[in-house]
């Protein structure tokens, strides 16, 4: 029998708690009735799922599905396909796609009755977890992951949601919002083509061999969707700021250009401020940082394997490419998502879909700027088209320049409106003249001060420090986290889920008030698993030294807080 652990129930409970009227009673029963129907639906989906899992010939993960759909489309019988914007795996039969999306839609519609602002987050079925994310109004992303006894399948739901959030955020950065693309092409072909190549390129990074490995419990000391900062001294910081100004003035435009500076896979500086919209930070910095670490930094360019960044997967030896995923299909649905435009009036015209996340398409040019042909190449000049992207902060389309000097990657964003196409080479020239020497000096200075991959390791601690306001995190290096016992990490995963839940409750109760929270638990293997939350800053910690007292654990946190967090967590 299927067990449901759902927010729906919670929603009902809340309603019951707050407004316990006789009048409501009847409607509750009505809802319960409706729920019953959905249960059956889920049941059948799951059963079908199971059968298809066995029978499928798809080599790649048959146990994970990811879909994007639009609630505003396909509202009439027979047009259901219209709402599907993306489905992974693409070779999945439409019937199954529709059933997954239909269930999701049903749940969303149902839960919205109780909680119009934030509909359902997750369905925990017996064998699957359905993770929901409303990326844009009525544009939903749902990820279905299988649960099984294997350790790899112990998920932290919030981490999975962060994956959805990340890919959507990146998508918007490069292609603009899904809704906007839908408005451009009512058919949906345009947005499908974009989503298909983009998400597929994104997912490839999660493949380990032929297996799709999403963030699971061992990744609990990481936080997706955050930047990792390089800690630098005052003088170096001033030097960096001076460089930032020089870049700004070199762009020689009236409009402000923006820049990010990275040292290896760590952020040194940014001029992009997060924009707050409905208490959700729209952070260009995070997106560009993520993209840089995925595709631009020296490490990404050389596609070296070992990485201490959460963004890099450990197994690049996988021969999986987007093509291999694509060519496997051959089913009817492939044409549905890919580039075929079947409308008769534009036969020769195809969508040109840049694929910013495609691997190994960036390389370092002779002048220090990175070049790519992702955005196409102008055949007359044999010069690649300059990449462009959308900034959320200014809602402006900008050119993307990337300059690299050894460990330092400088990302420069110049508004298109301020620059004619011929101005591009001029900007590059000016940058080379005015700032390349400065970059060289900064690079040397930062390299001298760099403590190596384990620079932020604190002996005896395994920690994650996360500032949800600034979208910054710092954690023990993965190599050190790997030494932790499974029990500790599982305990941490549970703890984090509790904290996630508590956080989302607080947020709903009073969005402007941040709660302090402190939890210390003793895991099976006698390790201490600790969480502290204070005013938007979160600290998670695993202390594995056995047979220590609670006092000791608390002391250890205090010390850590005093030493590394400016006493932010020293509460009492």
């Amino acid at each position: 029998m299927i067990m449901l652990l759902f927010l729906i129930g919670k929603a009902i409970a809340e309603v019951a708690e707050s407004q316990f009227h006789a009048k409501m009673m009847s409607s509750i029963f009505y809802y319960l009735d409706m729920l019953q129907t959905i249960f059956y639906h889920i049941q059948s989906v799951d059963a079908r799922d199971f059968i298809m899992g066995l029978s499928s010939t798809t080599p790649v993960s048959e146990t994970t599905q990811l879909c994007v759909f639009d609630l505003r489309r396909g509202q009439h019988e027979g047009q259901e396909l219209d709402k599907i914007l993306f489905f992974f795996p693409a070779d999945c039969p439409f019937s199954k796609q529709l059933s997954v999306i239909g269930l999701s839609e049903g749940l969303i519609t149902f839960t919205r009755i109780f909680s119009p602002e934030a509909a359902c987050d997750v369905i925990e079925a017996e064998k699957h977890s359905h993770v929901f994310y409303e990326a844009e109004p009525d544009i939903w992303m749902v990820m279905v992951v299988e649960k099984n006894k294997e350790a790899e399948a112990i998920w932290r739901i919030d981490a999975l949601r962060k994956v959805l959030k990340e890919v959507h955020s990146l998508f918007v950065t490069f292609h603009g919002s899904v809704r906007l693309l839908l408005e451009k092409d009512l058919n949906g072909g345009l947005v499908r083509a974009h989503l298909y190549s983009f998400i597929t390129d994104y997912i490839i990074d999660f493949f380990a061999g032929k297996k799709l490995q999403l963030p699971f419990f061992r990744d609990c000391l990481k936080e997706r969707g955050t930047v990792q900062m390089l800690t630098i001294g005052r003088e170096a910081a001033i030097g960096v700021q001076s460089l930032v100004r020089a870049i700004e003035s070199s762009c020689g435009t009236n409009a402000a250009c923006s820049s990010l500076i990275l040292f290896q896979d760590l952020l040194v500086s940014t001029t992009l401020s997060p924009v707050r919209f409905d208490f959700i930070a729209q952070d260009d910095t995070v997106n560009l940082f993520t993209y840089a670490v995925l595709r631009l930094t020296p490490r990404a360019l050389s596609s070296k394997t070992s990485s201490w960044s959460y963004l890099r997967k450990d197994n690049p030896s996988s021969q999986i490419t987007a093509e291999s995923i694509l060519t496997n299909t051959g089913s009817e649905s492939k044409d549905f998502y890919t580039l075929r435009d079947v409308s008769p009036d534009s036969q020769s015209q195809r969508y040109h879909v840049p694929r910013p996340l495609q691997r190994d398409r960036w390389s370092k040019g002779k002048d220090g700027f990175l070049v790519t042909d992702i955005w196409g190449a102008d055949f007359d000049t044999v010069v690649s088209t300059t990449p462009t992207l959308w900034l959320k902060q200014t809602e402006e389309k900008v050119y993307l320049y990337v300059y690299q000097q050894k460990n330092v990657t400088v990302i420069i964003l110049v508004p298109i409106s301020s620059l004619a196409e011929q101005g591009i080479s001029m900007v590059k020239q000016q940058l080379l003249e005015n700032v390349s020497l400065k970059i060289l000096l900064i690079e040397e200075k930062l390299t001298r001060g760099w403590g190596g991959e384990n620079a932020y390791h604190v002996a005896g601690y395994r920690y994650l420090l996360f500032d949800s306001n600034k979208n910054m995190s710092r954690a023990s290096p993965p190599g050190k986290v790997a030494t932790l016992a499974k029990e500790s990490l599982l305990a941490l995963k549970k703890l984090r889920e509790e904290v996630d839940l508590e956080k989302s409750r607080t947020k709903k109760d009073n969005p402007s008030h941040e709660k302090d929270l402190e939890v210390c638990i003793r895991a099976n293997n006698n390790s201490w698993v600790i969480a502290r939350v204070t005013r938007g800053k979160e600290l998670y910690m695993v202390l594995e030294k056995a047979s220590e007292t609670l006092l000791y654990a608390s002391d250890a946190v205090e010390k850590f807080s005093n030493r590394y967090c400016d006493r932010a967590f020293s509460l009492d």
Partner: protein, 710 residues
């Protein structure tokens, strides 16, 4: 004889004063003309201009040119006078009556005695008083030097030491305490002695180079062709080479004399002045002056040759009204037009370091630099600023000019690298001034050949240096300690020179302004006079200003100079106003902006619109352990329970309980209110007896009852 370096050559008078100039003389001059004057003498040891009448000597103290009346008049009796010098305590007058005898008159007792040469074969070339420890008086004779000490009780001189060598002529300046003795056929072999307080230093003998006319004809070096000047505390000798038309610079080290380049000359008659360490080479025939700043190795002139200007001249068209300068008709009515305006007239004698004496009319002019004109003449901003920052005499003006240049640069939105270089100059200068300022207290005065040392070996002229007098009177530095003075940093030397100057001039000085010694611009001034001023005009465009401020931070950090706290606040303000929150975060987290209460409060203020910024302010308060403010802010933000916890931990008991109670009451949460009440009941002795307690207990009861009722 006019001092030792007097010279008089016929010059060609012609007009040449234009509107543009870099140096000027200020009208009116010090008028020292007395009826029946037999001539003017300059006593550079005492800064006295002496005018001789038939039996009197009148003295003007040029260090205090407040009055045109003579400072003193002493009767000296009849008789020829070859040279005359007051002793350094001004108690005794020494008068060289002939080549063989010098008469001494005690000004108080009127006692006199005469010192004669021992043999008729030698004759006295000159004499000067010295503040050297071992002797008081030096006679320069054709056969060498006699060092005497003056014994008032005996009314006689006691011979201390004799230095045998042949002397053709000599050059001496009290400023350098150095005498150069010329000898040889061409008079180009020199021996130097420095009579500093610590003792007598003999310089190695050296030769000055001279180009030849022809193979057989060897020119003879004349006394007027050699000058001793002191620039940035270094002692140089300048030699005019008439054949090569070059002015050679020789620099004196303790154990060596090194030629350091030459500059071309364009006149057969050359005079040199040093004003505020700027070397002026007067091309007398051409009536122009060329300025050199010999601080660096470069011997390029500061600016183009320009005439000397007469400033404050009563007539507007001074130059045109001047007629033939050669007709020196003494008519009072004509005086102004005839000779006061006669720039580079024949009667001009240039006195070390910056004076011009009109020998005929008894006028004394002081040469001034027109810093404003010099600053305006060059577009090389950073070098102009460097030049200005090295100025000591009119340091206030130099400072004002520097500030004005800086402001203009910013307001004109010059390229950032250019402004950055300018900032570097100012900050480096300030940093040096701090370092050397502290070194004045110690004995860090590094000497070159004892050019300065204890007790004012460099006794530069004081007319304007009164402005610059340092108010600190510290222990005198050690003299001649450094064997390799060439490595001495210029600013150090400068400072020490000034220091010794102060000492040397002793009571002669009045501290007029009590202002700073150097033109250096402190962080405070940089903020007040540059950033605060330009900010008002650039408020609409903070990006550029931010870039400049960043450059200033960088410069200050590299020189380890503290930034003015107000600038930190302003930076935060600017960043917040332009909504550059990401950068603001970086400025705070990386401590580019130094944490302070002011900055924290500004962050809180700016954070009204942006909660992240407000948090930065809160964090800063906490990090600075400003517990009281931190707790207050927590309460203000509605985190009263957290505030209580924090207050208890950090023992903050300066905040009224009612604040917390009000906040808890406002939140309409009876549990919280109860918690706060309980907190104070438990931890604040006597709280239960206060009105707060009863009031809020009452409120709590009401809340509970209404809750139940509902």
């Amino acid at each position: 004889m006019f001092g030792a370096t007097s010279k008089s050559q016929p010059g060609v008078a012609s007009s040449g004063s234009g509107a543009l100039s870099h140096v000027y003389i200020q009208h009116p001059p010090l008028r020292c003309n007395t009826p029946g004057s037999r001539g003017l003498y300059y006593d550079d040891g005492n800064k006295l201009l002496l005018s001789l009448t038939s039996d009197q000597v009148l003295a003007w103290d040029i260090a205090q040119p407040t009055s045109h009346n003579a400072l003193s008049a002493d009767s000296i009796g009849e008789g020829p006078v070859l040279s005359i010098r007051f002793s350094l305590d001004r108690k005794v007058i020494g008068i060289q009556r002939s080549n063989h005898e010098i008469q001494f008159i005690n000004r108080e007792s009127r006692e006199t005695f005469t010192q004669r040469c021992r043999s008729d074969a030698e004759c006295i070339v000159g004499f000067f008083w010295t503040d050297c420890r071992t002797c008081d008086l030096i006679f320069i004779k054709t056969s060498g030097l006699d060092l005497y000490s003056y014994v008032p009780e005996l009314k006689a001189l006691r011979l201390v030491e004799t230095k045998k060598l042949s002397v053709s002529w000599y050059v001496y300046t009290h400023e350098s305490r150095m005498v150069l003795l010329a000898s040889g056929m061409q008079c180009k072999t020199f021996t130097g002695f420095q009579f500093s307080f610590a003792g007598v230093v003999r310089l190695p003998r050296f030769e000055m180079g001279m180009a030849k006319y022809e193979a057989n004809k060897k020119p003879v070096l004349a006394v007027e062709d050699v000058h001793i000047v002191t620039i940035y505390g270094r002692i140089y000798s300048l030699q005019v080479d008439r054949v090569a038309m070059l002015l050679h610079l020789y620099r004196f080290y303790r154990d060596a004399v090194v030629q350091q380049g030459s500059v071309p000359i364009y006149s057969s008659r050359i005079a040199v002045s040093v004003i505020d360490n700027v070397l002026l080479v007067h091309q007398v025939d051409a009536k122009v002056v060329i300025l050199y700043d010999v601080y660096s190795d470069s011997r390029a002139p500061i600016s183009a040759p320009l005439p000397l200007r007469l400033k404050g001249y009563p007539k507007a068209n001074a130059s045109s009204s001047r007629t033939g300068g050669k007709d020196m008709i003494h008519m009072e009515t004509n005086e102004v037009s005839d000779h006061e305006g006669n720039i580079y007239g024949d009667a001009w004698v240039f006195l070390n370091p910056d004076l011009i004496c009109d020998n005929v009319h008894g006028h004394l002019w002081r040469i001034h630099l027109d810093l404003e004109a010099i600053a305006a003449s060059s577009s090389e901003v950073s070098s102009v600023l460097e030049f200005l920052q090295r100025r000591k005499l009119e340091s206030i003006q130099a400072r004002q000019l520097s500030l004005a240049i800086m402001r203009t640069l910013i307001l004109e939105r010059r390229p950032i690298p250019m402004v950055s270089r300018a900032i570097d100059v100012l900050v480096a200068s300030y940093s040096h001034s701090i370092k050397t300022g502290s070194s004045l207290q110690g004995s860090m005065i590094r000497a070159e050949i004892g050019g300065h040392g204890e007790n004012g070996s460099i006794n530069r002229d004081t007319w304007s240096t009164v402005n610059n007098r340092s108010s600190t009177c510290s222990d005198p530095g050690e003299d001649l300690n450094n064997d390799l003075p060439s490595e001495v940093s210029g600013v150090d030397v400068e400072q020490s020179a000034l220091q010794s100057q102060t000492l040397g001039n002793g009571g002669n000085l009045t501290d007029i302004s009590g202002s700073q010694v150097s033109a250096a611009i402190s962080s405070e001034e940089m903020y007040i006079s540059v950033f605060a001023l330009v900010e008002e005009e650039m408020a609409s465009e903070p990006v550029y200003l931010l870039a400049i401020i960043t450059e200033y931070f960088r410069s200050a950090a590299s020189e380890k100079v503290r930034v003015n706290p107000n600038l930190n606040v302003m930076t935060v303000q600017l960043l917040a106003c332009s909504e550059r929150y990401a950068e603001l975060g970086l400025f705070i987290v990386n401590k580019i902006v130094e944490p302070s209460k002011e900055v924290a409060l500004q962050l809180l203020e700016s954070g009204r619109q942006h909660c992240e910024t407000r948090k930065l302010g809160m964090d800063m308060l906490r990090q600075l352990s400003l517990h009281h403010d931190y707790v207050l802010m927590l309460v203000q933000d509605g985190y009263y329970l957290e505030a209580l916890r924090y207050a208890r931990k950090n023992k903050v008991n300066t905040i009224r309980p009612s604040l917390f109670l009000e906040a808890a009451f406002a939140s309409n949460d009876s549990q919280h209110l109860a918690a706060v009440l309980r907190f104070f009941s438990d931890f604040l002795p006597g709280f239960k007896n206060t009105s707060d307690h009863s009031t809020y207990c009452h409120y709590l009861n009401e809340m509970n009852s209404s809750y139940i009722a509902a």
